[in-house]
């Protein structure tokens, strides 16, 4: 039977070979999610002043490159600008022949060359015109907007995206600095967060179930084993065995605090045979090493408790997303199983005979299977209760149970726009940063001032359209900078009633100085780096794997540092 097919036929398809290095991260499910997604890039919406085409938008273009390569379903570029010589100095996806042509079309054409499977659409008109078609935005799973851009456009896109539940990334790259924010729906749940496997082992040594207890008891008398047997007892069984011994002399209680655990560890160490050729036993070394990490009762994390307590989990509706139905079923499981979550069921490798390891592994797997079955039964009940007809696929429930301890719900926030409407938490975070000489928070504020200046330049240009172009203000207009700096400083003083002290203002002055070196222009390296970070966030949002930014990231290319803020 084994030779019914030539062996080579079992090899991967050409698509699997092309995407091999990324499938090892997000697997076929993540890849499918990417291929089902189309991403919109809104790349410019006005000038920086007379004779300027405004933002070059390279950070956004580079982000698209990093999505086209792994096989995103499609891209849409909206950009009314035509290609100028300045673009050729920063944008790799334009060529000499592109001069004078539509920047959207040329960039889209050269990006599509990277991957024949990706669809591309280009529009050489302002996004406001496209938004008049109510179906336009809805075709996309994610929007990337290149800043700085005028508030009215930004808010129009963000608002409609919010209504449709589409995430938005708002990016800036100017000189040596960059900054971007992510707007997610009000609740953004993630099942596969991919935590470090080392830090998340769940072996339940203090919450054993009957089969595991039986396996520990079945060990019997360790002293009667020969050296080979003794040196191959899986460390999990050793620990179970010694915990039982410990309990007998400690009023039936397992080691429960640091001191007791240290004592217990030394006790385990003392039980190893040292008269072996190696002078010790590897399985005992493993047991000793595992005491501090694994001898703890199972504890439900507060983040999981918060998820259980959320309205979406408590009050299911017929159209509740799968996540909340399964979360609700797991909540019930937890209540009925003394606060335990379903067992993930994976077992780390350890020194053991093959058969002993496999049978121990089967004990974990069987328990995990039973837990999944219990949760599935509850899911089916809930589906009936809420009148849902299409059952949630079994695999989805299984994956959820395996990851139950590490699920996350990010509470999405708007793109933060520093203004009189900013909430107190935002101004407090920023003031706190200033007080600690945080140079990166000052960069964020400098970007907000730049945004306000550009917004005003573009709004005036719109109203003056066709008028005297040379009389328009530009991005270097000192009066505009002073006006918006003063206004933003007032916003930051609003909630504390105190002005930012002069020495703290200096870090803002420095940030603005550096930011204004290129007069709104991009440096390719900084945009390429930012495009990498933005694409990383896009991948996480679209695959719903790993944990996205919450919600603002600043990169300081002069100091080679980044920072994250929740604003």
């Amino acid at each position: 039977m084994a030779d019914a097919f030539p062996a080579v036929l079992t090899g991967p398809s050409s698509k699997e070979r092309r995407y091999d290095r990324q499938l090892r991260l997000w697997a076929a499910t993540g890849q499918q999610a990417l291929e089902d997604s189309r991403v919109l890039l809104v790349n410019s919406d006005g000038t920086f002043g007379p004779q300027s085409t405004g933002v070059a938008g390279v950070a956004g273009v580079e982000a698209l490159k990093n999505l086209v390569l792994p096989g995103i379903g499609g891209i849409t570029i909206v950009d009314p600008a035509t290609v100028t010589e300045v673009d050729l100095g920063v944008n790799f996806f334009l060529e000499a022949e592109s001069l004078g042509k539509s920047r959207a079309e040329e960039t889209c054409r050269l990006l599509r060359e990277l991957n024949p499977d990706v669809q591309g659409y280009a529009y050489s008109k302002p996004v406001s015109q496209l938004l008049q078609d109510p179906n336009f935005l809805a075709q996309h799973k994610l929007v990337i907007i290149s800043g700085p851009t005028k508030r009215s456009t930004l808010q129009a896109v963000c608002q409609e995206a919010k209504n449709l539940g589409i995430p938005v990334l708002y990016t800036h790259s100017v000189g040596f600095y960059s900054m971007f924010s992510l707007q997610l729906p009000a609740e953004f749940p993630i099942v596969e967060t991919h935590p470090d496997p080392e830090s998340t082992q769940d072996l339940r040594l203090l919450n054993p179930w009957p089969e595991l207890i039986a396996a520990g008891t079945a060990l019997g008398d360790l002293s009667s084993m020969d050296d080979h047997q003794h040196g191959h007892v899986p460390y999990i069984l050793l620990l179970l065995h010694f915990i039982e011994q410990w309990k007998q002399t400690h009023a039936g209680k397992p080691p429960s605090n640091y001191k007791e655990k240290t004592e217990f560890r030394e006790f385990v160490r003392s039980q190893a045979r040292t008269n072996t050729p190696e002078g010790g036993e590897e399985n005992f070394d493993e047991a000793v090493g595992a005491v501090m990490k694994t001898i703890s009762p199972f504890e439900l994390r507060s983040s999981i408790r918060e998820i259980f307590a959320m309205d979406q989990c408590q009050q299911l509706k017929p159209d509740s997303p799968d996540f909340w139905i399964i979360a609700s079923a797991i909540h019930k499981f937890c209540e009925e199983n003394k606060g335990l979550l379903p067992l993930p069921g994976s077992l780390p490798d350890m020194k053991a005979q093959s058969a002993d390891y496999v049978s121990l592994q089967n004990i974990y797997k069987a328990k995990a299977r039973r837990d999944v079955d219990e949760v599935t039964a509850t899911v089916r009940q809930l589906e009936t209760q809420i009148g849902r007809t299409a059952p949630i696929p079994e695999r989805e429930i299984e994956v959820f149970c395996k990851n139950a301890a590490d699920i996350k719900v990010v509470r999405g926030r708007h793109i933060p726009l520093l203004s009189e409407d900013s909430d107190a938490a935002t101004t407090k975070t920023i003031r706190g940063g200033f007080a600690l000489d945080d140079r990166l928070v000052a960069i964020y504020v400098a970007f907000e001032i730049l945004d306000a200046v550009v917004s005003e330049v573009q709004s005036i240009a719109d109203t003056e359209n066709g008028g005297d172009q040379l009389r328009l203000p530009n991005i270097e207009d000192e009066e505009l900078w002073t006006k918006h700096t003063d206004r933003i400083l007032k916003v930051l003083a609003r909630d504390t009633g105190t002005d930012i002290p002069p020495e703290q203002k200096d870090i803002l002055e420095d940030a603005m100085w550096e930011l204004r070196r290129t007069e709104g222009g991009e440096l390719h390296n900084i945009s390429a780096l930012t495009g990498g970070l933005v694409a990383q966030e896009a991948l996480k949002v679209l695959t719903q794997q790993y944990v996205p930014l919450d919600n603002t990231c600043v990169f300081d290319g002069a100091r080679s540092q980044t920072a994250m803020y929740r604003l």
């Binding site: 390569l69 792994p70 010589e85 592994q361 100085w513 007069e519 440096l523 970070l533 790993y546």
Partner: protein, 421 residues
């Protein structure tokens, strides 16, 4: 061909180079001179893969005009998910040549000179011609080689002999970039233990007590192949070879009731595949090129000296100064301390150097000041010193004695002080 006005094209770059900023040096002469210096700086890029493709693009769009690139590899289909200068039709062609030609065609005015081959083919004269060397490699061994070569080139009388080395590396959503000033700052070798190799599975596990699907694959690849097909050199790019190993591993898995052997896992184990994506490469490559631009043009301070990046949970970076170690075997002047068990044999000790984080030497030979302990080459000397492999360390060296270790992969000797446990 239409001519492009450089002043217009490089508007933004020239602005950054023609104005000072809050962090630029007070004596910095910005303007035309800096621009001329930048444009005439000769830069060497080592590696034209995931990082290298990005680096070449970034350098070309940072105003560098004279770029060289070395890579010995040819293009494989699995490169296309991130190495964006290559297309399906390029599969099988040399990376360095295709990458250089693409960037030259796209960014008019830049000259990129490819070399298809190994970095070890080139000598000090070759490396001396560059202003800065930038690495986008997946091999620790190649990094260590260029690091020790550049350190050996430093001549205190000649400032031009000090070649800054900017290095990038990635794995999945993680990466790092670092700036090394040979002999002046922490080097690759000083930081070796921060990049420890994954511990190998003990041979007895593979041979007799497999527990994981990976153990079955290792058995098929290391043991079954040797037994059944020892006359054919194993080629990890040959699908038939991989399929054979896969099937052998499947059978062994069945025999031991071990589930989970897949073709993908088989490939991963035998080729030691590291996950790689375009976005992480973009971040790290741009970080390294940004440092090169800052070093070449002095337009802002450069990284001092290490930035690590992790993108799995939000955007996390940590920028710090890795320590220059006085007992670094390459740039320090003291021998590195190494704890050893005096009762192990020289043979076992030599074996262990491959995995010890602070050594990572696969084929070491060693001597004390007085005598040769073990020497792999020439064969006569190997034969003479072979009996030492059976002796215990305590019978060969004294506690605290210094040994010099050489390895064919490196041009220099590594000095270790052996302290008995």
């Amino acid at each position: 061909m239409s001519t492009i006005d450089p002043q217009a094209r490089w508007t933004y770059l020239y602005k950054a180079l023609s104005k000072n900023g809050p962090l630029t040096d007070e004596d910095w002469e910005f303007g035309p001179e800096t621009i001329a210096t930048l444009e005439s700086s000769k830069i060497l890029v080592i590696g034209a893969g995931g990082l290298g493709c990005e680096i070449l693009k970034n350098l070309a769009l940072s105003g560098f005009k004279d770029i060289h690139v070395i890579d010995m590899d040819t293009i494989d289909i699995s490169n296309l998910n991130r190495q964006f200068l290559f297309r399906q039709a390029d599969i099988g062609k040399p990376k360095a040549e295709v990458a250089a030609a693409f960037v030259e065609k796209r960014v008019k005015g830049v000259k990129i000179t490819p070399y298809v081959g190994k970095i070890q083919d080139k000598d000090e004269d070759y490396y001396m011609q560059f202003k800065i060397i930038i690495c986008g490699l997946d091999s620790i061994e190649a990094r260590r080689w260029i690091n020790s070569t550049l350190i050996a080139m430093v001549d205190m009388e000649n400032p031009e002999s000090l070649k800054p080395l900017v290095d990038g590396g990635t794995e999945g959503f993680k990466g790092q970039s670092r700036v090394i000033l040979p002999t002046l700052s922490s080097c690759i070798e000083c930081q070796l233990d921060m990049h420890a190799p994954r511990p190998a599975v003990p041979l007895c596990t593979i041979a007799t007590i497999p527990r994981q699907p990976q153990h079955c694959i290792e058995w098929a690849y290391q043991i079954a192949w040797q037994e059944k097909r020892k006359d054919e050199p194993f080629d990890s790019d040959d699908l038939e070879h991989i399929s054979w190993v896969y099937n052998a591993a499947l059978e062994r898995g069945e025999q031991f009731h071990i589930h989970g052997v897949t073709f993908q896992m088989t490939q991963g184990v035998v080729k030691n595949i590291i996950p790689a994506i375009a976005s992480t490469n973009a971040v790290i490559a741009a970080s390294t090129t940004s440092e090169v631009l800052k070093i070449a043009a002095s337009c802002n301070p450069y990284l001092d000296n290490y930035m690590m990046y992790a993108g799995e949970e939000g955007v996390y970076t940590y920028t710090f100064q890795a320590e220059k170690k006085s007992d670094c075997p390459v740039c320090g002047n003291l021998a590195r301390k190494m704890e050893v068990d005096p009762n192990v044999t020289l043979g076992d000790f030599i074996e262990s150097l491959g995995e010890r984080a602070e050594a990572q030497l696969k084929k070491p030979s060693m001597r004390t000041e007085e005598k040769t302990l073990y020497q792999r080459f020439p064969p006569q000397l190997e034969e003479q010193t072979r009996p030492n492999l059976q002796l215990k360390l305590r019978d060969l060296v004294a506690d605290g004695q210094e040994i010099a270790v050489s390895d064919p992969a490196y041009t220099i000797d590594f000095r270790y002080r052996l302290n008995f446990k």
